[in-house]
Amino acid sequence: MAILTWLESSSLSTWVREGETIWAFPTILTLHTFGMGLLVGAGAVIDLRLLGIGRRLTVGALRPMFGVMWGGFWLNLVTGSMLFAADATRRGTDPLFMTKLVFVAIGVSVIGLIRRNVFDAQEETAAVPYEKTLAALSLVAWTAAVTMGRLLAYV
């Protein structure tokens, strides 16, 4: 596709891909790994709590973990876009990459649902019956997204 070729040949993409400096591909990839750890790690803590781990943990008090997650999300949106642009013609037509994006989208949506229906609703209602389902769905989506992201290096 012409747009992917254009994206890949842009000067930013070329720098990310071919820059002979630690600040190009290595640092962007490392930041992407940190973003993943923040997003998925903080998410896992919330999911585990909703699934019943550490009942003495007041759910609402874990709210700052959402800040950690959004920090990781935005970091990875930026670094992920750069990594995609550097390799656009291959990734843009790669079913594994597309599937990874689907799972990321599911994961982010579920985080939003947990935030709105479990955390923001906490004051009025005691517990949402489907919070465990959301938490399990979140864990599955992020496990799939991380696994596929990692496998991108091997296919």
């Binding site: 990839l29 490392t30 998925v40 790690g41 903080a42 003495r56 950690v68 496998l151």
Partner: protein
């Protein structure tokens, strides 16, 4: 002062697991005889630290072997036999250290350490001590002909059995999915450790104050699960392709940070300054410093791990 080489580090540290496991076992027996719960806790803490210190001992061994295998009078079979014995002892040492940690974690809320876990640690540490002594004895024979009475252990030839670096390397090359699968698990473990360390340490630093530290203490096994998962998958990489890591500066730094993270987990599990943090209480400045360093240690592990192929020479 000459520069410190990796084989030298192996020689400096390699008595710690042997002497350490004997000392820890002695302390456990003494504590049980005296019915002294404080001493028992301390002895399990020593055991955990010894298990942690065993990590750099094993990881520097491959470089030490490479450095001397071409020398006159050094048998490659002797090195391989020592390596195999060391791997077995290492695995048991890590299991023992992990169960010691579980006992300490369970015991944090109890007046006494749970008997079942202490019994398991006692049994495991006897096995570990025996295997460690054996690995050390075989290792000594590589370069110390003066200790030999009769033929060296290596006279039996190259080691056999399923748990050798050769069989693990063969497994990884025979099943092409093994390495990527272990990498995926390694990254999931990374997330779990980071998530747990952030939740617990951000509380100490002053976020999420409506939570007591004791409540967050319940999350620690999930962090240790990630840590253990990454130890297993990481050892698969190292044992299968040691040459990628032995002369890799990024890997050396990664191991340094890894040992700090392990020590930080012990600190979070047993130290009383953080344990007594009630709802809305503010932590002492020193505990905040340790919390920040704990997060920083894992950030360092991730950074140096990710830089293995870029700053170091891993593929």
């Amino acid at each position: 002062m000459g520069s410190l080489t990796i084989p030298h580090v192996h020689l400096l540290l390699n008595h710690v697991p042997t002497v350490g496991s004997v000392a820890a076992l002695g302390l456990i027996l003494l504590a049980l005889a005296r019915r002294d719960d404080h001493l028992l806790r301390a002895s399990l803490e020593v055991l955990f630290v010894v298990a942690l210190a065993t990590l750099p001992v094993y990881l520097t061994g491959a470089a030490a072997g490479t450095a001397i295998e071409a020398l006159d009078g050094v048998s490659v079979d002797a090195i391989r036999t020592h390596e195999t014995a060391a791997l077995l002892a290492f695995v048991w040492m890590q299991i023992t250290g992990f169960i010691a940690w579980v006992a300490l974690w369970q015991g944090r809320r109890l007046p006494h350490l749970p008997r079942a876990s202490v019994g398991a640690v006692l049994l495991l540490s006897v096995i570990t001590m025996g295997l460690m002594a054996r690995a050390a004895a075989i290792g000594g024979e590589i370069r110390h002909p003066e200790i030999l009475v009769g033929p060296a252990a290596a006279a039996a030839g190259a080691p056999t059995g399923w748990l050798t670096s050769a069989t693990i390397a063969e497994f990884v090359s025979q099943y092409p999915w093994a390495w990527p699968a272990a990498e995926a698990l390694h990254f999931l473990g990374l997330c779990l450790v980071l998530g747990v360390l952030l939740a617990v340490n951000l509380r100490v630093l002053g976020a999420m104050k409506p939570l007591s530290f004791a409540a967050l203490h319940r999350l620690l096994p999930w962090g240790m699960l990630g840590f253990g998962l990454n130890l297993v998958t990481g050892m698969l990489f190292f044992v299968a392709a040691a040459s990628q890591y032995t002369e890799n500066i990024a890997f050396l730094w990664k191991v340094v940070f890894l040992v700090v993270t392990g020590a930080h987990f012990l600190y979070l599990t047993v130290f009383s300054g953080t344990w007594s943090l009630e709802v809305d209480a503010d932590a002492a400045p020193l505990d905040k410093l340790v919390a920040a360093m704990g997060i920083g240690s894992w950030v360092g592990v991730i950074y140096w791990g990710r830089m293995l192929p870029f700053i170091g020479n891993a593929f």
